[in-house]
């Protein structure tokens, strides 16, 4: 083994990253754009009084579940939100929420068109599949290093790393949802002279909606799993609290913040699932 020279993979990638960093203007633009979205969310969350915020979440849950009448969720949410408030994690929770919503939104905006493209083009699907696998299986920490180089320290690189890690399910599920549309329905759309866009918006996307939304839900959960990792490069929020607790060997503080993340995850998961349920046509 010693005779074979080591491939200089790391130096290649370093050079590639250095070369990319030279596009400073572009990355600054992206940073400003994502920073703008983050500030927008955060501004809204900061301006809302805590009681009103709670009421909005509870109200939304009530409205979305008005048909199924699973009221236990309401009680859980009320207790959970009061716990977060009681522990003094409210602002951290809203920062985490901002991180999750921003990265989910970006994952949706980029992921859905990619998924559609994959469904329409076999070639693109074949190329894209290993890339998606790579994005999802590469340890998420690795994304942090170039993210800092491109976007500096703070929320923005956290969002970027989250998007890379969390986007694949949205792409995959969009692709799957469109491919699952029964063949005779696409034939019917074609036989009446639909253009590609008409077929997409009138038949394929509406029928893929519930699968697509399942992908969005997964992306959201994955980006939530990134919050602790993102805090290592300066993203604020509940993840930061956990990260600090790790550094101080503070088991209690770690669990207290971790529990808040769990509560947030469950609330987000149930609400997006309820939205999905409501969109499926009644049968």
């Amino acid at each position: 083994m010693n005779n074979i020279p080591q491939l200089p993979v790391s130096s290649w990638i370093d050079k590639f990253v250095d070369w990319l960093v030279s596009f400073e203007g572009f990355f600054n633009g992206v940073t400003n754009f994502i920073g703008g979205i983050i500030n927008g969310f955060q501004w809204v969350f900061d301006i809302l009084p805590i009681w009103l915020f709670m009421l909005i979440i509870l109200g939304a849950t009530y409205w979305l579940n008005r048909k199924t009448k699973h009221w236990t969720l309401l009680i859980f949410e009320a207790i959970g939100l009061l716990y977060i408030w009681n522990q003094g994690f409210w602002r951290d929770m809203t920062q985490t929420l901002t991180l999750v919503l921003t990265s989910s939104l970006i994952a949706l905006v980029i992921g859905v068109p990619l998924g559609i493209w994959m469904a329409k083009s076999k070639v693109f699907a074949v190329i894209n599949k290993p890339i998606l696998d790579f994005m999802q299986t590469m340890p998420a920490f690795v994304y942090l290093i170039p993210a800092v180089a491109f976007f500096g320290i703070g929320m923005v690189p956290g969002v970027i790393a989250s998007v890379i890690f969390a986007m694949p399910p949205t792409v995959r599920m969009t692709n799957l949802g469109i491919r699952q549309v029964p063949n005779d329905l696409t034939e019917a759309a074609d036989s009446y002279g639909s253009t590609g866009w008409q077929k997409l918006f009138k038949v394929q996307l509406p029928l893929a909606k519930s699968t697509l939304m399942a992908g969005v839900n997964q992306s959201m959960m994955l980006s939530l799993s990134m919050v602790v990792i993102a805090s290592m490069i300066g993203a604020m929020g509940l993840g930061n609290k956990v990260y600090f607790a790790v550094g101080r060997n503070d088991a209690g503080g770690g669990f207290a913040a971790g529990l808040a993340i769990v509560i947030l995850a469950i609330i987000l998961d149930r609400i997006t699932q309820a939205i999905n349920r409501n969109k499926v046509p009644k049968s």
Binding site: D184, A188, S191, Y192, G193, P206
Partner: protein, 399 residues
Amino acid sequence: MTAKLQVQHLTKIFGRRIPKAEELLKQGKSKAEILKTAGATVGVNDANFEVNDGEIFVIMGLSGSGKSTMIRMINRLIEPTSGKVLIDGENLTDLSKKELLDVRRNKMSMVFQNFALFPNRTIIENTAYGLEIKGVDKDERLKKAHDALELVGLHGYDDQYPTQLSGGMQQRVGLARALATDSEILLMDEAFSALDPLNRKDMQDELLDLQENLHKTIVFISHDLNEALRIGDRIMIMKDGVIVQTGTPEEILTQPADEYVEKFIEDVDRTKVLTASNVMIRPTFVNIDKDGPRIAMRRMRENEISSVYVVNSKREFVGVADADHVMGLIKQKNPDLMSVVQKDVPTTGPDTPITEIMEKISQTPIPFAVVDDQKHLLGIIIRGAVLGAISGNEVTEDE
């Protein structure tokens, strides 16, 4: 009758090495050989036929015979490998994407085996789909869709979703969707095959009723000979991507082109077990020994027929008198009915198998008389009744 739709040398080969497969096809190699040597599947091989304006043209074959491929090449859901599809003389295979959309929007519509209704749209929205695609404004398209639904006998389901309807009703929606666009050609791909037998029969009747008023040009795919015989003006039988025979239902039944067609019609072929007495109907007759021309005329008027069978007092068959001649007698005030009775009427015994007399029946304008050994008139055989009986329908008897 003019050809609305012409298919010329239409060929479809599935697979990768298409040029090679085409060459092999020209050499006259079989489907199996081509699959073996070129790895390509021949879907349809050099199909030629015409569909006339306003006719129901049934393409029949077992699964794998290429009939689904054929109908999909007509609207280019499947791109033909070679050949032409002409609609009103315009070649579809030359059209650009945009022109093709135009043809699909205005000239053809399709009805699918499993209905292919959009589950996210209501019945009225489904029906209006073709119009929506064309950009017809909302009020107008909903009105047209509503009219189409009325036409197929669906009232009050406009705002329901497809899954709330039974299979038969869903296919009515499928048919209404096709009718709503006002296209002249309907492509029906096994449209009634997914329905239970009673519903299927209802839908066939419905289609025939509609066709009487609408005069669409219909290409209908089926694997069911009974269905083909019931609704088809002409039938085309396919096997392994090749057209085996094209003809009227009678021609198919009486002159099967080869063993394959024979076998095909065997399953449904009741001719071998049916005898003349099974298909005969009650005749309208007069007694020559006591009835005169006026009675004969009245019988014909009552039964709305143009000729009457003549027997004597022993009910022995004498002949046929037709309305024109009887009318002549009445005008001349001549009471001798016998003078106009036609005696060379074809007759047959009650136990004669239909296969034996079928050809003659289809060639003679006057219905056959069925007589027993003593020459007693038992009944008559009309052409429609034979076909009806063969295709599995009851002989209707007017009393």
